[in-house]
Symmetry: C2
Amino acid sequence: MNSSAANTSEQQSTQARLEEMGRAAREASRRMARADTATKNRALHAIAEQLDVRRDQIAEANDRDMKAGRDNGLDAALLDRLELTGERIDGMIEGLHQIAELPDPVGEIDDLKYRPSGIQVGKMRVPLGVVGIIYESRPNVTIDAASLCLKSGNATILRGGSEALHSNGAIAVCIAAGLAEAGLPETAVQVVDTTDRAAVSALISMPEYVDVIVPRGGPSLIERVSRDARVPVIKHLHGVCHVYIDDRADLQKAFDIALNAKTHRYGVCNAMESLLVAEGVAADILPKLAQAYREKGVELRGCERTRKILEDCNPAAEADWSEEYLAPVLSIRIVEDLDAAMDHIARYGSGHTESIVTGDYSRARRFLAEVDSSSVMVNASTRFADGFEYGLGAEIGISTDKIHARGPVGLEGLTSQKWIVLGEGHIRQ
Amino acid sequence: MNSSAANTSEQQSTQARLEEMGRAAREASRRMARADTATKNRALHAIAEQLDVRRDQIAEANDRDMKAGRDNGLDAALLDRLELTGERIDGMIEGLHQIAELPDPVGEIDDLKYRPSGIQVGKMRVPLGVVGIIYESRPNVTIDAASLCLKSGNATILRGGSEALHSNGAIAVCIAAGLAEAGLPETAVQVVDTTDRAAVSALISMPEYVDVIVPRGGPSLIERVSRDARVPVIKHLHGVCHVYIDDRADLQKAFDIALNAKTHRYGVCNAMESLLVAEGVAADILPKLAQAYREKGVELRGCERTRKILEDCNPAAEADWSEEYLAPVLSIRIVEDLDAAMDHIARYGSGHTESIVTGDYSRARRFLAEVDSSSVMVNASTRFADGFEYGLGAEIGISTDKIHARGPVGLEGLTSQKWIVLGEGHIRQ
């Protein structure tokens, strides 16, 4: 058998394996949809207990992945994300208990009301069904994703990074044991155990078994999944977040927010990447801000007018305005007014998070209404765009889509609403 | 130039034309998103006025379509759907005024609350942006779709059936004039004016310009759009709706509901296609029901046990259980109990609408919770699954998807929610 034939045969067997997982997930999803809150919470606590009991096995499996990663030349950042220290296992355990504490969204009935025909109509919150999650190196995502899907009554198929195969396998054993202890089907959470890339293609092409795909990873993964999926996708593209300092801003607040939004953490999607400053206050605030950024080691890239004020600022190229740096780099543009700022955001932003700093009521109101991003803020740091800060209790990701779920996605984003109708023999006239 | 080269060149020009429309729609969507309620209502009333004033031109255009349809051998049903009588024009005008009366969903803020950090977090309802609608022969859909998108602050690109080209063109003139009268961009509603099928391919492949596609039409259109779209789709597949008569049902209510659900109208997606009857009451109710169906001319196809009770009932083949007849045909199955009924629905149903008839509280509660369909009913006819009956005021379609919008989709289904954050200089610690 030549190697291309071998590949094809491996792909076929991966395809068949994923279909089998899909069928089992669909079947399990019916059981999960009717599992009561106490049972689901029991499973979450039991999985936490299993993680605690099997720390040694998890550490061993993780060692194998770390060794393979080093042998394969993974860089230090990837190795760091791959590592499961005792502290990270504690974090996973704590996360499970926290999700058990959250209110169960399933079964909530909203807006039940009588209609002129005499029927009562309302909406009941229900699980989506089967959620496919595709993610990269961090093995603790396996627990995050599994626990959110479990609590929201979904079955899930998890496809982690190939470099975390053994770690994910060891975690999967804990999940299966915890589910069984609570009397729930082990197939409610299935972890794909092949590194064959065909598994992703198979997972995103089974609308009969999978209701939604959540890809978590770099742009190339997201783009591939979005392009090829035959299943709806809740995706998180990039965050090119803006702060606009209006000429009616309190300059101290503007200073604090612009500094925090850029320098609180660099490698996160809700960090500010572009600062827009109204021309009326640019000469006042930019030198102080630039000084603070310089002390933090942030490279500045400005428009021409910015460079007249900040002489040692690098020039910003056109490409800078749509760049997600995820690094100590900031582009700065001086704009005429609110309209120019909103035009810039509409043109270059990624629809993630934007904030205006202003003391003007009408401008704040316009910014809130007119900026088309998943989070729009007044006088607050973009770094607040986060499921925990918003009170969701947990977060499966931050959606930059407009359909279904937008911004931080918690338990509710993993559910939908069906209509319910209550009658007493009512018929349509 | 040979004919294949001519086709390619036509496709390229269609592609270019659609991209131009997409760009214009994206631009118009910003203006529409901030249009206030009064302006949008003014446009709706102005379009209604234009339809009234231009009745002759619309009738002329419709005559051309009807003549071409007859020449091309369209069947009577299609010709009927294509025809714009004076009464149908009245209906469109009335529909526009009704949509103007509906509450504007845009800008509604829900759940604004303080977080421990001191920020206030809530959700604001906003338009989706650009909605692409692909539909078949009925030209009055042009007004339905345009008015719902307009009221919900979206820009829209409408692609109607080629057989309605002139009618849709005449209606488009009215829409453009009405928009202009209210000071809104004419490009907020664009009607595709080519019959080239490449227009559909282009429209569903422009995620940069189109936020969601709503296909309204037969299964082949929906399947093609779902398979090829690179944009999220709110789709309506088929309605294989069930009524389950439990053995604790009030048999008079069961009779009324089963008769109404099947015979009130045949060609509609919320008509019952399969009747499930608990074995304990089958012998009681089926003969009476069969008699009533026979009087209405409904063909019955039953399982073996049904045929023992109803001797002149045709046998149901396996394929009958998943068939959407849209006709005076009904499949009937006797089932052991509630669980068997729900298993049948899970296996053969299309997730549209199912109803249980029962006097038993716990069974009603289980059916509501466990049946995974867009509408789930107790003691009511499936025919109630409808945007008007549910109080949405209007309906762009009935979604059989689970993501974003499920069941009847009104104005709210054409919007999404963004997060808003209000602070006073808050930064993340």
